[in-house]
């Protein structure tokens, strides 16, 4: 087995000449692999998604017959202050959450992939935030960050900062507080993906590099990072998408407040749709979110393609 794992794959091998299989049969084979998943996916995810995006051009309250309104929903949206606030907040959250989580997850995965005593314990511990009840997460973070009596601010005062921030009760600091809590929560999740990705890098490459006298940093830079490229691509896309869709953690930590300081697009979609029953408008907001995320994803795809060539 070791023999197969150590097959050279540092540089992607040229795609071997395709066997003389007919295109038609190849298509058939490809579809046969995808079909079992695709049937369920198409019926219960793809169709509802398309339906919901189509709703953005309609006026629908979930009961009466939908009415075509063209771009009315979008027009209402661009004149709505709450929409712009939520869009800005979502972007702010993503810009903070994505790079921090990515670096932390990668760092800890590399660290905990080594033969370190107690690694098993640390790996488990780091996954804990992801499985701890959200209520507990919200309560403890709010308690740690409590403006008057919280340990964080007590520490800040002790080191000479007289007016530490009010964290989740301050419009300026609520978002950073939420970002820190979310990085903390998601870290273990993405670490698992990186740990799986690290298993694809053959140990021989590291051994060879060590023989050549490469430093730890050089090994990380020239073996680990390129070897993890497909995983990083996956993590980056999932992270981007999930941070644009963030909902649960903010809902329990701040409910979008104070005021609208941490209000994000998913909350607007939720409130307008399922709570208020304005499904057309809610879908229009989803459409914006969808277009933004899709654009970013396509750009990431292009970049990955280019780097592979």
């Amino acid at each position: 087995m070791t023999a197969t794992v150590s097959a050279p794959r540092q540089v992607r091998p040229p795609v071997p000449a395709p066997r003389p299989v007919r295109r038609r049969s190849r298509t058939w084979v490809g579809w046969s692999f995808i079909l079992p998943n695709f049937i369920g996916f198409a019926a219960l995810t793809l169709v509802p998604v398309i339906a919901s995006l189509a709703l953005s051009f309609l006026d629908w309250d979930s009961y009466s017959t939908p009415r075509w309104v063209g771009l009315d929903n979008f027009e209402r949206m661009i004149h709505n202050d709450t929409f712009w606030t939520a869009l800005k907040n979502t972007a702010y959250y993503a810009v903070g959450h994505v790079p921090l989580t990515l670096c932390a997850a990668l760092g800890f995965a590399v660290l905990l992939n080594q033969k370190l005593k107690g690694a098993r314990f640390f790996r488990t511990a780091l996954f804990f935030p992801y499985i701890t009840s959200l209520v507990a997460v919200a309560v403890v973070w709010n308690m740690l960050l409590s403006p008057e009596s919280g340990p964080v601010n007590q520490f800040l005062r002790a080191v000479g900062i007289d007016h530490p921030p009010g964290w989740t009760t301050s419009t300026t600091w609520a978002m950073p507080a939420v970002i820190v809590a979310s990085v903390w929560r998601d870290l273990g999740y993405y670490m698992i993906l990186y740990l799986a990705g690290l298993q694809t890098i053959p140990a021989e490459l590291y051994e060879a590099a060590q023989v050549d006298g490469a430093s730890g940093w050089q090994r990380f830079r020239h073996i680990t990072v390129p070897g993890l490229r497909p995983t990083t691509f996956f993590v980056l896309i999932m992270l981007t998408i999930s941070s644009f869709k963030v909902f649960d953690l903010i809902q329990v930590m701040t409910e979008g407040g104070p005021g609208r300081a941490t209000l994000v697009l998913s909350q607007v979609i939720y409130r307008e749709g399922i709570v208020q029953g304005r499904f057309g408008y809610s879908s229009a907001v989803s459409m914006v979110l969808f277009v933004i995320v899709l654009t970013i994803t396509v750009v990431q795809f292009r970049l990955q393609r280019r780097s592979e060539r």
Binding site: T27, F33, F234, F247
Partner: protein
């Protein structure tokens, strides 16, 4: 030099583990308190008086066993289906070239980009028309074919060199044979992480079961816990007792699955 690095690594990890485990500690500590003491200001980490009785009382308060059984059933089935169909489809996306493949793949990723809140109502209408509301099957169908698994497995398969499958093809193996005999065994770490993450997500899902399941004997542990919170919103100690109990199965899965994504064991274990 190495020792210094080791020590600082341990120090960092130790500090971090504390930071990471604090909320969990709060959960455990609260589960051993009287209800009125849970939200005391300032917080009390060690209960003044240990209420171990919470852990036996909860079984009589809510049908926890039924909830756990439903959660296990749903999580295991959904995870199995997701891993199976996801890795199967991923092979099609990663290793078979055919026209329309990339567009189709983009459609998969695109759906991930739409928040569930946006399409839960159209989805519900379809389920209602199919007469599947208030069954476990509705949740299985909803969650077993998600795009996430396909995407994750595809990315992993891309790292498996093509000449492996090429060689197998020359040996006369069919594409299905290559998937089952070559690719699947090689992707154990990815399968393990997909299984773990799917399991955890299904286990912790609340909104799906809430919308689709009405009968109490179909409820999952998360739904049961939330309803307990709603009913007895001041009984936070009992709520945390339930939360602690609900985390334990995941912990077991994690400890079992862990060896698959750790270097050394994973490679030598593959035969």
């Amino acid at each position: 030099m190495i020792r210094v690095r080791r020590t600082s690594a341990y120090l960092l990890l130790g500090l971090l583990s504390v930071a990471v485990l604090v909320p969990f500690a709060w959960m455990v500590s609260s589960s051993l308190k009287a209800d009125a003491d849970v939200f005391s200001v300032p917080v009390r980490w060690i209960p003044a008086e240990f209420h171990w009785g919470n852990f036996s009382a909860i079984w009589g308060r809510i049908p926890l066993l039924t909830y756990l059984r439903n959660s296990v059933f749903l999580s295991v089935t959904i995870t199995a289906l997701q891993v199976l169909t996801g890795s199967f489809a991923a092979y099609g996306f990663a290793k078979v070239r055919f026209p329309g493949r990339d567009a189709l793949f983009l459609a998969y990723i695109a759906t991930i980009a739409v928040p569930w809140q946006a399409y839960m109502v159209p989805q519900y209408v379809i389920m209602q028309k199919a007469g599947l509301v208030n069954t476990h099957l509705s949740l299985i169908l909803l969650q077993a074919f998600s795009a996430f698994g396909v995407f994750l497995m595809r990315q992993y398969y891309l790292t498996i060199p093509d000449e492996l499958s090429e060689a197998a093809r020359l040996d006369g193996l069919s594409e299905y044979g290559i998937w089952a005999r070559i690719i699947l065994p090689l992707s154990k770490p990815a399968l393990a992480s997909l299984a773990l993450l799917t399991f955890v997500n299904t286990w912790n899902d609340y909104m799906g079961p809430f919308i689709y399941l009405t009968d109490n004997n179909l409820w999952t542990i998360q739904l049961g816990l939330r309803s307990f919170v709603g009913l007895y919103d001041a009984e936070y100690a009992m709520i945390m007792t339930g939360s602690v109990l609900s985390v334990l199965p995941i912990l077991v899965i994690f400890l079992l699955g862990q060896k698959y994504f750790v270097q050394g064991i994973a490679t030598s274990g593959m035969k």
